[in-house]
Amino acid sequence: MALYAGIDVGSRTTKALLLNDEGEIISYHVLFTGADPKGASFRCLKECLKEIGKSLKDIEMIVSTGYGRKLVNFATKEYTEITCHARGAGFYFPQVRMVIDIGGQDSKVIALEDGMVLDFIMNDKCAAGTGRFLEVMAQTLEMSLEELAKEASRAKQAVPISSMCTVFAESEVISLIAEGISREKIVWGLHLAIAKRIASMAKRLPQGRPIVFTGGVAKNKGMVRALEEVLGEKLLVPPDPQIVGALGAALLARDLKDEGNRLNHHRTD
C-alpha cells in the first residue's frame, strides 16, 4: 500500500497526516513545533507511521506546508498553507467557496471557485487575530485555552476591545480586569474583536458561500460562534480543523504521483 504524507509545520504546532492510495486518512499526529521545526516534522511523521506499523519506505510522496515548509528537506515538494487549506477544506466540503484559516501565527481568508484558489488575503505581520493572540489573552486572564473557549461559547455580554496588537490588548485586558469587568464580558469581547477583523478581511474577497473554518483556532467553539455572529451565517467546521493544512498537503502529494515525481528515500535516512 502506497502512502502519501502531508506535513504542516506551523509556528505553534506541527501536523503530519498519511493518506492511502484511495485518498483515505490512515493516521495523523500533532505535536508542538518548538525551536526545532525540522526535527518536529520528522518526529511527527514517524509517530504517524508508528501508529500504523509502517516505515518511511512505504511513503511514495511527501508535501510540506506551513511557515517551516522549506525546512522539511525530505519532502518531495512544498506548497503554501493557502493552497493546502483550500485543498483540505475541499476534501470535506467539495462545494466550499471560502476558507477562513486561523492558525497560531497568522490568519488567512481564501476565496475558491471550482475548488481552485481564486484569491486570498493574509493578516499583517503582527499576531493580531491569531491563535497566539488568544493564548496571550488566556494567560492574562489566568485561564486555559479550553476554559477561554468554553466561556466564549456561552457568554451573553461583551465589552468592546479596541486594541488588536497583542501587547496593547494585553494592557487593555489588564485595565478592564482592574475596573472589575467580568471575565465573561472580556472573553466574549476579545472573540468578537478577532471575528470583526477576520470579517473585514473576508469582505475584501469575492463573497462565495459556504464558508469553511480551518486551523487550530477553529477548535475553539467560542470563536466559531463569534465568527458566525459577525458574518451572519453558519460556518462549516471539519472534524479536526487543525489538520486541514496537512490533509491538503497529503492530497497534493497524492496528485504528484501522476506527475512522475519520486521521493528520494536516502534523504530521509
Binding site: Y67, Y79, I82, T83, M116, D119, F120, M122, D124
Partner: protein
C-alpha cells in the same frame, strides 16, 4: 571614527574622480554596459555636485529633471539617493535619525533623506525645486529641507484637472520658476539653452519608447528588477543630459540584441508578471531571486512607462506642461486603470503584483481599485505589503508565502485553462 573618515571622503570631488574608473572597471566585468554607464553617471554627478562649480538643485523624482540640466545646474535627487543607500543596506541609521523629526508614517525614503541630511552626505543645494506630483510627502519634505538649510524652495503646483486652464496655470508657474531660478542662482540661461536640454530629452525619450516596445517580446529580454533600479534611476535623474542619452542607447542596443536572439533573461519563463508601483525593496532581500527561481519574469514595470506625449519641440515649456499634466499616477484613478489594462494586454501578462510601500498614499491608495479591474480581466493580482527603503518594515516569511501562494494560484489557473 572610521565612519566619519569615510563620510568625509564621500564629500570630496577628488574621491569620486579617483573611484570612478576603478568602480567602472569593476562593474564592467559583468558585461552590462548600461549598468556600467549608470555607475559612471553616479560618480560623475556626485563629483560635480561636491565640486560646486555649477549650482546644485535638489529636486523630486517627478519634477522634469531636463529643466534643471537646461538651467545649467546639477540636479540632486534625495529620494533616489535614499534608494542607493538602501542598496548598500545602510538606511537603518538615517531612517532612525529622520524619524525623530517626523511621523513614522512618512515614506521611508523621505525619512531616510531627513536622516542623511544630518550625516551631511548629500551635497548642500543652492536651490530646491519640487512639484506636487506624485508623492504626497514631497512638498512637506522639501519645505522642511528648505527651512532647515535656509535655501529657497520653488514649487510647481500641478492640478488634477487636465484642461486649458490647468495648462495655462502650470505653464505660467514653469515660466516664473525659470526666471526666479535664474535670478536666485545668477545664471544667464536663455530659453534656447533650455531647448538644447529638451532636445536631448526628446531623443532619449524616443529610445525609451523603443525599449518599452522591445520589452513586449516573449520571452522577457530584460529583468524588471533592474528596470526598477538603475533604469528608472537614470530616467528620473539623467533625462536631458548626454549621459542619459548614452545610457538609453546602450540599453536599447542590449535589449534589441537579446530580442533578435530570442533570449529571455530567465532560463525558463513560466509566467510573465507586471510590477506596479515605482519602487521595489532596495535593501538586500530575496524577492527578485525567489521570483527568478520560480520562473516568474517581471516582464514590465509601470515605473518605466514613458507616459507623456512626444514633444513638439517648438515651445519647451509647453512640452513640459504636457508632460506634467499627462501623468497617469496623478489625478483621477481612471488614468492609471487604463494604463494598467493596456500594459496587461500589451505585455501578455499572467499576473500583476502591486507592491504596497509603507507610507505611500498615492499609489497604494488605489491598489484595491486597480485590483478589481485586473481581476475582472481574469488576471491574478497580489497586493504585496512591504517597504522600499526600511528593512525593518519587511517580513521575509510573510512576503515569500504571499508570493509563493500567488505563483501557485497562477499555476493552478494555467492548468485549469489549458485542461
Amino acid at each position: 571614527m572610521a565612519l566619519s573618515s569615510f563620510l568625509k571622503c564621500l564629500r570630496r570631488p577628488f574621491f569620486w574622480s579617483i573611484i570612478r574608473p576603478l568602480v567602472c572597471l569593476y562593474v564592467s566585468k559583468e558585461r552590462n554596459r548600461p549598468f556600467t554607464l549608470w555607475v559612471e553617471f553616479l560618480c560623475w554627478i556626485f563629483k560635480e555636485a561636491w565640486k560646486r562649480e555649477k549650482p546644485v538643485i535638489w529636486t523630486n523624482s517627478f519634477f522634469p529633471v531636463e529643466f534643471i540640466y537646461g538651467l545649467g545646474a546639477i540636479p540632486f535627487l534625495p529620494e533616489i539617493f535614499s534608494a542607493l543607500v538602501a542598496y548598500f543596506d545602510w538606511t537603518r541609521g538615517p531612517i532612525s535619525k529622520g524619524s525623530l523629526k517626523t511621523s513614522t508614517d512618512l515614506c521611508s525614503f523621505y525619512r531616510c533623506a531627513l536622516g542623511l541630511k544630518e550625516y551631511e552626505v548629500m551635497p548642500k543645494p543652492d536651490l530646491i525645486i519640487s512639484c506636487s506630483q506624485i508623492c504626497d510627502g514631497t512638498k512637506a519634505f522639501y519645505q522642511t529641507m528648505s527651512e532647515s538649510l535656509g535655501i529657497p524652495h520653488l514649487f510647481v503646483d500641478v492640478p488634477f484637472q487636465k484642461d486649458e486652464n490647468a495648462k495655462r496655470y502650470v505653464k505660467s508657474q514653469l515660466e516664473e520658476i525659470f526666471h526666479e531660478a535664474k535670478n536666485i542662482l545668477g545664471l544667464k540661461t536663455s530659453l534656447e539653452d533650455l531647448g538644447k536640454s529638451f532636445d536631448m530629452a526628446k531623443r532619449t525619450e524616443s529610445l525609451m519608447r523603443e525599449i518599452a516596445h522591445l520589452r513586449k517580446s516573449k520571452p522577457a529580454p530584460f529583468p524588471g528588477s533592474e528596470g526598477m533600479s538603475y533604469v528608472s534611476g537614470m530616467s528620473f535623474w539623467a533625462l536631458g543630459s548626454e549621459r542619459g542619452l548614452a545610457f538609453f542607447e546602450a540599453l536599447k542596443e542590449r535589449i534589441e540584441k537579446l530580442v533578435k536572439e530570442r533570449r529571455g533573461y530567465l532560463k525558463e519563463e513560466r509566467f510573465r508578471v507586471l510590477w506596479l508601483h515605482h519602487i521595489r525593496p532596495y535593501y538586500p532581500n530575496p524577492i527578485m531571486e525567489f521570483l527568478k527561481k520560480k520562473g516568474v519574469a517581471i516582464a514590465y514595470e509601470e515605473a518605466n512607462y514613458p507616459w507623456w506625449p512626444e514633444r513638439g519641440g517648438e515651445d519647451p515649456l509647453e512640452d513640459l506642461t504636457e508632460k506634467l499634466l499627462s501623468n497617469p499616477w496623478y489625478g483621477p484613478i481612471e488614468g492609471r486603470l487604463k494604463l494598467v489594462r493596456d500594459l496587461v494586454l500589451e505585455y501578455q501578462i499572467d499576473g500583476v503584483i502591486h507592491f504596497s510601500h509603507w507610507g505611500c498614499r498615492q499609489s497604494t491608495g488605489g491598489a484595491s481599485i486597480v485590483g478589481e479591474m485586473v481581476k475582472s480581466m481574469g488576471i491574478p493580482y497580489l497586493i504585496l505589503p512591504g517597504d522600499g527603503a526600511d528593512p525593518d518594515n519587511y517580513s521575509p516569511g510573510q512576503t515569500l508565502t504571499r508570493l509563493q501562494a500567488f505563483i501557485e494560484l497562477m499555476e493552478r489557473r494555467w492548468r485549469f485553462t489549458r485542461g
